[in-house]
């Protein structure tokens, strides 16, 4: 670096600093680690290091029966366990040609969309917290607490639900619970405006997020970003709309995409804003579902010994962190031969290495928060 004319000792000597961010760092949601090389505050390289939460859920899948594996899928992404349940059950149903009852499908959608709201609330709240605003986080958790109560009423669990089973759902949603969900939605819709007034339109917040770590559409496709991160980059793609499953084709909802609301397309603010809009869409879906709920059994007759014929299937579900893919290979026995869970956070993590070059330490935190990565989902 130094000029040849000066002797080494007289040149003002600078050195890069290598910092280990995590695994116990306040803003690495869960346990992640980044080895960051910085020039002062400016990052020249950030290498993600994952695997601290690896629980070999895929290997467990080979040792469990299909029914027995459903509770394990919860742990793949404990912030949105319902979707992990649904993905696996859909894969098993497709393999085993099992019908799902119509009421079961509605119960699934209701539970899933409630879970999506809960997951996005965490995402939005922790985003604010990482930027330094602590109040929105607690307000978001307060609402999530109500959803947890509702979930407890629906399926008896607050975090890892094990609600969606092969052929339907474990327990029917009672009319009383439906009423409560409606009460909650009436309460929740104005709260989104409150978040906007408190956080989204805050000048400092916008300054911190706009134009930071913008992901172009090409990069998003190259790195296989999914879900809200992909939509924020301007790709209008939602599995619920484009590869419809369950009863989503009958429901009306918008697919929010990023427009470069306050800065460039695909920046942190767009990713945040897409999530806020999805809260509204989920609420809309829930209201429709509650109206359309048909009568009937919640689960169809599924043999206890569930033995799908040999074959393989790849099923996609639109989870809060994007396209959750279940690749299940059956060899005709009670046990799956291979279960592969492909999650949104895993690919989202891979892009951090590229985006982190040249941004500041504070921006790295914003970037991690905006991608809404979730350690259990990365490591599985």
């Amino acid at each position: 670096m130094s000029e040849a004319v000066y002797p080494e000792s007289e040149v003002f000597h600078t050195e890069d600093m290598t910092i280990s961010v995590g695994p116990q760092h306040p803003s690495t949601h869960g346990v992640l680690r980044f080895v960051v090389r910085t020039d002062g505050e400016v990052i020249s390289e950030a290498l993600p290091d994952v695997g601290y939460l690896h629980r070999s859920i895929e290997k467990i899948g080979e040792k469990c029966t299909y029914h027995g594996y459903v509770p394990y899928t919860d742990r793949a992404d404990y912030l949105a366990a319902m979707f992990a349940n649904q993905g696996f059950c859909m894969a098993a149903e497709k393999l085993g040609a099992t019908e799902v009852t119509r009421r079961g499908e509605f119960c699934r959608v209701i539970a899933c969309e409630l879970n999506r709201i809960a997951s996005h609330l965490i995402s939005v709240g922790t985003f604010g917290q990482d930027i330094g605003a602590i109040t929105p986080f607690l307000h978001a958790l307060r609402e999530r607490e109500t959803i947890n109560d509702l979930m407890e009423e629906i399926c008896g669990a607050r975090l890892t639900y094990n609600y969606i089973r092969i052929g339907g759902v474990g327990y029917d949603i009672t009319p009383q619970t439906c009423d409560k969900i409606l009460v909650f939605l009436d309460h929740f819709d104005p709260i989104i405006d409150e978040y906007n007034r408190l956080l989204s339109y805050n000048k400092i917040y916008i300054e911190r997020l706009a134009n930071v770590a913008a992901i172009t559409k090409e990069d998003a496709l190259q790195y296989n970003l999914v879900g809200p991160n992909l939509r924020a980059s301007g790709v209008k793609w939602d599995i619920r709309r484009d590869i419809p499953y369950s009863v989503y084709p009958e429901l009306e909802f918008e697919v929010p995409v990023g427009h470069g609301e306050k800065g460039t397309l695909g920046d942190c603010y767009d990713r945040y804003w897409v999530r806020i809009q999805e809260l509204q869409e989920s609420s809309k879906i829930l209201r429709q579902c509650l109206k359309m709920m048909p009568k009937g059994p919640a689960i169809s007759k599924v043999p206890r010994k569930f033995k799908p014929p040999a074959g393989e299937v790849y099923v996609r579900v639109e989870a809060p962190r994007g396209d959750m893919g279940y690749y299940v290979v059956s060899d005709g026995t009670e046990y799956a031969y291979r279960v592969r869970i492909r999650t949104g956070s895993f690919t989202a993590m891979a892009i951090i290495d590229k985006l982190s070059r040249g941004i500041m330490v504070a921006d790295l935190i914003a970037l991690i928060a905006s991608l809404d990565v979730d350690a259990p989902e990365i490591d599985r």
Partner: protein
């Protein structure tokens, strides 16, 4: 204070003792009294109040177990931290690491020398009061930098560097904002500045002219930045730098930093009150104890109002990035504060004795801003939703 000791000496209480030693002992006693009677409970109660105010704003409860409404929580925390092991990392600088909290604490504590509590209640009415205040608050940055460097931790170092850059930068707008008031008042003594103002709001320097009005907001913002408060809390930004310069500290040493921070909140409010808000000025009620008590109350309420505002700001705003922080200071606040200085100087040439009408007009503007703010607040409160309780498990 000095008069009081002088009178004691003249009455022959300390015959045979050199007067210098009497003064020194008197100063130490005064410092201890201020520290134990006022500063320690103040910082402690501020810490409790901050947690309660935050909790209220974040729709949770906050500490409410120790004493009525948890008001003694700070004592419990203090005892807990005293009992903790005093950890010094093996790679830390053995001399500077333990020393840093006390430097920070001294820098904060020395400000109480010139901060008045009432018309006659002041430790020392220095004729360079405000200058002294700016000087001793700068000691804090030395302590923070020492803490950051001696911890031998990269997060601490980053925090210390950020803090140094931030405090040094924001000294300038703060100092210039203070300078406008020194212009107008013609004195640097804190009591002198207060005496030049009146009890009525339009007699305050806040409304003296448009430039002092701006200077007030400049001062308050810069003071928040100097005190490492949100939205300028980047040196200890817990989501970025773990805990900044206090990362390696534990127990009582850790507490000293926060002692200084919470106490500093009051200092910010008190200085703003001295300079802009008429200090302890009250309508004449005939002197004596009642007036003294009233003066103390008025000053305390005015100062504490800004402590509350700082808490409120902290609960509401996100944190700025380090480059935005510097840009805000050097691009906007420094030029604006120079404008205030020059504007006030020009104003004093045009209106050597001040303009009564300008004061009334500025007061009107201030009231208007306050009314708009309160209405905005009412709107927010009307639209805020309380927690929904659905009575689970029917």
């Amino acid at each position: 204070m000095k008069q009081f000791v002088d009178s004691l000496i003249q009455q022959g209480y300390f015959s045979g003792v050199p007067t210098q030693i009497v003064y020194a002992i008197a100063m130490i006693v005064a410092a201890l009294v201020v520290l134990s009677v006022f500063v320690a409970p103040l910082a402690g109660v501020t810490s409790w109040l901050e947690r309660r105010v935050w909790a209220r704003m974040q729709s949770r409860v906050g500490p409410n177990r120790v004493g009525p409404q948890g008001v003694l929580q700070w004592l419990a925390d203090g005892i807990k931290n005293l009992l903790k092991e005093d950890l010094i990392p093996s790679a830390a600088d053995k001399l500077l690491f333990p020393l840093a909290p006390y430097i920070v604490f001294i820098g904060f504590l020395c400000t109480f020398v010139v901060i008045p509590f009432g018309g006659h209640l002041i430790v020392a009415d220095l004729n360079i009061g405000i200058l002294y205040l700016l000087a001793v608050t700068s000691i804090v940055v030395v302590g923070i930098l020492m803490a950051g460097w001696s911890s031998n931790n990269k997060w601490s170092l980053l925090g210390g560097m950020r803090s140094a850059a931030q405090i040094v930068s924001y000294e300038i707008p703060a100092g210039l904002a203070v300078l406008t008031i020194i212009f107008v008042a013609g004195t640097m003594s804190t009591q002198g500045i207060i005496k030049n103002q009146g009890w009525a709001p339009w007699d305050w320097y806040l409304f003296y002219n448009p430039f002092t009005f701006i200077a007030f907001f400049l001062y308050f913002t810069a003071a928040l930045a100097e005190g490492n408060r949100t939205p300028f809390d980047i040196p200890e930004a817990e989501s970025e730098l773990v805990a900044g310069y206090v990362t390696e500290y534990s127990g009582m040493r850790f507490l000293f930093f926060f002692f200084a921070e919470w106490g500093n909140l009051y200092v910010i409010g008190a200085v703003a009150t001295v300079l802009f808000l008429g200090g302890w000025q009250v309508p004449a009620v005939g002197g004596g104890f009642i007036e003294g008590a009233l003066q103390f109350m008025v000053f305390f309420v005015k100062a504490y109002l800004w402590v509350f505002v700082a808490m409120w700001v902290r609960a509401t705003l996100p944190r700025v990035r380090v480059d935005q922080l510097m840009a805000l200071c050097w691009k906007y606040m420094v030029p604006l504060s120079f404008l205030c200085v020059i504007g006030t100087a020009a104003w004093m040439v045009v209106f050597p004795h001040g303009s009564r009408w300008a004061s009334f007009a500025m007061f009107g503007l201030g009231v208007l801003i306050l009314v708009l703010f309160v209405r905005r607040l009412q709107y927010q409160i009307r639209n805020a939703k309380p927690e929904l309780y659905l009575r689970p498990y029917i």
